[in-house]
């Protein structure tokens, strides 16, 4: 039966080739679009995770409230404020970091975590000063939860060691300060006298805003600079499976008043954009299905019309309806498999070509587009091609199987 199906298809070489190309190109387009979209998504997620984490646990934001001040300062008096008290009470800090460490150590889904102190500081070198966002980290822990090390232009994250006042500057900040590797800059918390820090590394994140303000130092040195020994503002957590961030964050929120945010919740705008991208990908998948499906439907319908006499003789020599259905359905299946393979191969080649194009602008670590080669893209593309071909083949094949030999013989005699 399979041999006959193949022979019938080869007898209509032009038709078969065109529909084979149609399915192949449809699948290829899906693979390229999905590869680029998922590559871009991976890039955005990596960027975002470098700045945050899968889950970020940070101190509760406390604000000054009028009633609180009145009750504490003037418990038995009527107070009329000209300007009521307002604003943030203090830098958000974790109330019980040790408690969190215990929770994280006992959660099997946690790959690693990094306690951090995030402060605003003023960096100065000779005549120029700049406000910077200084992140105090424990390097050995930080490298386990993000790929920041990959973005180092010079030096290593491990070069910042506690008690040595060493710092890594983002490349544009370094330029603004007129500093270079090995030079010393002054850092101030804005209140106390500045402390000297030695530049031991340069980092380039590929994000303009961050590259102008970002700096890294050891947690202990940042605590010392900020005059807040032992303080941690956040714990960045990496999970084995980043998709578990939302449910875990939800569970942990119940444990304390600290803020616990999964990466999806912390970046809702980005997630919305990703959802829109996914929608586009699904639309393309459906389009591929429809184009392939219509092609197969047309080819099989024409073929069945032309093959009525053969169907009659097959039925009259005892071929069952099911076998006739199988004969034509297998042609759809063959076209779907061949087209799916062609689409996968062409898609992979074009993705490789697109991924190797050097652009004039930087995208993360390089000048190339991020292209995803996730095997699921190829499996989905192939399955879409095969399924659409099968589904489209069902109607004409079924109508062929319903033909009785007598109808056809009468028609042709």
């Amino acid at each position: 039966m399979f041999k006959l199906a193949l022979k019938q298809m080869l007898a209509k070489k032009k038709q078969t080739f065109l529909i084979f190309l149609g399915i192949g190109f449809g699948t290829m387009i899906y693979i390229i679009v999905a590869g680029l979209q998922l590559g871009m998504r991976a890039y955005m997620v990596e960027q975002l995770l470098n700045n945050t984490a899968h889950i970020l646990i940070s101190g509760e934001e406390k604000y000054i409230e009028k009633d609180f001040v009145e009750n504490h300062l003037y418990p038995d008096e009527m107070v009329s404020w000209v300007v009521p008290p307002s604003g943030k009470r203090e830098e958000g800090k974790l109330g019980n970091p040790q408690g969190w460490f215990e929770v994280l150590d006992n959660t099997p889904q946690v790959l690693s975590y990094s306690p951090r102190l995030n402060v605003q500081a003023i960096a100065s070198n000779t005549q120029y000063s700049a406000g910077i966002s200084l992140l105090g980290i424990i390097p050995q822990k930080q490298i386990k939860i993000s790929s920041l090390e990959d973005y180092m232009q010079e030096g290593s994250i491990l070069d910042v060691t506690g008690g040595t006042n060493t710092i890594i500057l983002s490349h544009k900040l370094l330029k603004k300060l007129g500093a270079k590797m090995g030079s010393t800059i002054n850092l101030s918390n804005g209140v106390d006298a500045p402390l000297p820090f030695k530049v031991v590394g340069i980092i380039k994140l590929g994000n303009n805003q961050l590259d102008e303000t970002f700096a890294l130092s050891h947690l202990k040195d940042v605590q010392k600079l900020n005059k807040t020994p032992g303080r941690i503002t956040e714990i960045a957590v990496a999970l084995y499976n980043m998709d578990l961030a939302t449910p875990l964050a939800k569970r942990w929120k119940l444990l304390s008043r600290d803020q616990v945010q999964g990466w999806q919740e912390a970046n809702q705008n980005l997630m919305e954009m990703i959802k829109i991208q996914d929608l586009f990908r699904y639309i393309i998948t459906v389009t591929v299905l429809l184009v392939s499906g219509f092609g197969i439907y047309n080819v099989l319908s024409i073929m069945i019309n032309q093959k009525q006499k053969e169907i009659a003789i097959l039925r009259s020599v005892g071929f069952s309806k099911e076998k006739i259905l199988q004969l034509f359905l297998s042609q759809g299946l063959l076209l779907g498999i061949a087209g799916g393979i062609l689409g996968n191969v062409l898609g992979l080649i074009l993705c490789k070509i697109i991924g190797s194009i050097e652009f004039s602008f930087e995208i993360g670590k390089s000048n190339n587009l991020w292209v995803s080669y996730d095997y699921l893209i190829y499996v989905t593309g192939f399955c879409a091609a095969v399924c659409s071909s099968l589904i489209a083949g069902v109607i004409p094949s079924y109508s062929a199987s319903k033909l009785t030999p007598l109808e056809i013989i009468r028609e042709h005699s």
């Binding site: 009659a312 097959l314 005699s413």
Partner: protein, 217 residues
């Protein structure tokens, strides 16, 4: 045993094509059904060969009532016991002579055991040299002989031939008729031949003459 036709009628809407047909064909008999165009002879053949069912009455093939057989039983019966020869050969153009002849065997998955038989038949039909050719590379007479070989490959009990010489020249028509005589004589296959040619009809051992949907002899 044999083929029993029990008071069959066939209507197409208000048109009565067959009226109370009643006869029996013994195993190994060679019977022709003849009559003018529109007398109902092809319709009768299609009913006898399970391709159609009567409006009323019954047909028994080897004591099985064809009306009571389900689709699967009919498919199996046709595959094993019936060979068809039509006016048009209905060969599969994408298959070679050998593959066309083996088609019923392919259906029953006994293809390999029938290759030698196919070659014998093609040799008897004097077209062994055409074994690897496609239908389009053969003459009409050769194509019809391939169709005969296909009808015989499973050594059926019954051969139903509907105007098998209708598209052939005199020489090839005579060859086909000789072949049918030989098959009946040597393998005792029951042959039911529909023809409007009185000479060919006369070659059968018994002739059933139809006129206006009734048997008149």
């Amino acid at each position: 045993m044999g083929l029993v036709v029990d008071h069959i009628h066939k209507d197409f809407g208000k048109q009565k094509v067959l009226k109370d047909i009643n006869f029996k064909i013994e195993n190994g008999e060679y019977v022709s059904i003849s009559g003018r165009s529109g007398s109902g002879k092809s319709t009768l053949l299609y009913i006898l060969s399970t391709l159609d069912i009567p409006t009323a009455g019954d047909v028994f093939l080897d004591e099985c009532n064809t009306k009571k057989m389900n689709d699967h039983e009919i498919d199996v019966f046709r595959a094993k016991h019936i060979g068809f020869i039509f006016q048009f050969h209905y060969l599969i153009p994408e298959l070679t002579t050998l593959e066309n002849v083996l088609l019923p065997a392919t259906n029953l998955k006994v293809e390999s055991s029938k290759v030698e038989r196919a070659k014998e038949l093609l040799n008897e039909l004097e077209i062994l040299d055409q074994i690897h050719k496609y239908p389009s590379q053969m003459s009409g007479g050769q194509q019809q002989r391939v169709a005969i070989a296909r009808a015989l490959i499973m050594e059926p009990k019954y051969i139903f031939a509907d105007e098998p010489t209708g598209n052939l020249d005199t020489y090839n028509a005579a060859k086909v008729m000789d072949m049918l005589d030989k098959i009946n004589r040597e393998s005792k296959t029951t042959i039911v031949l529909v023809t409007h040619d009185p000479d060919f009809a006369a070659r059968a051992k018994r002739e059933i003459l139809l006129s206006d949907g009734r048997v008149v002899n």
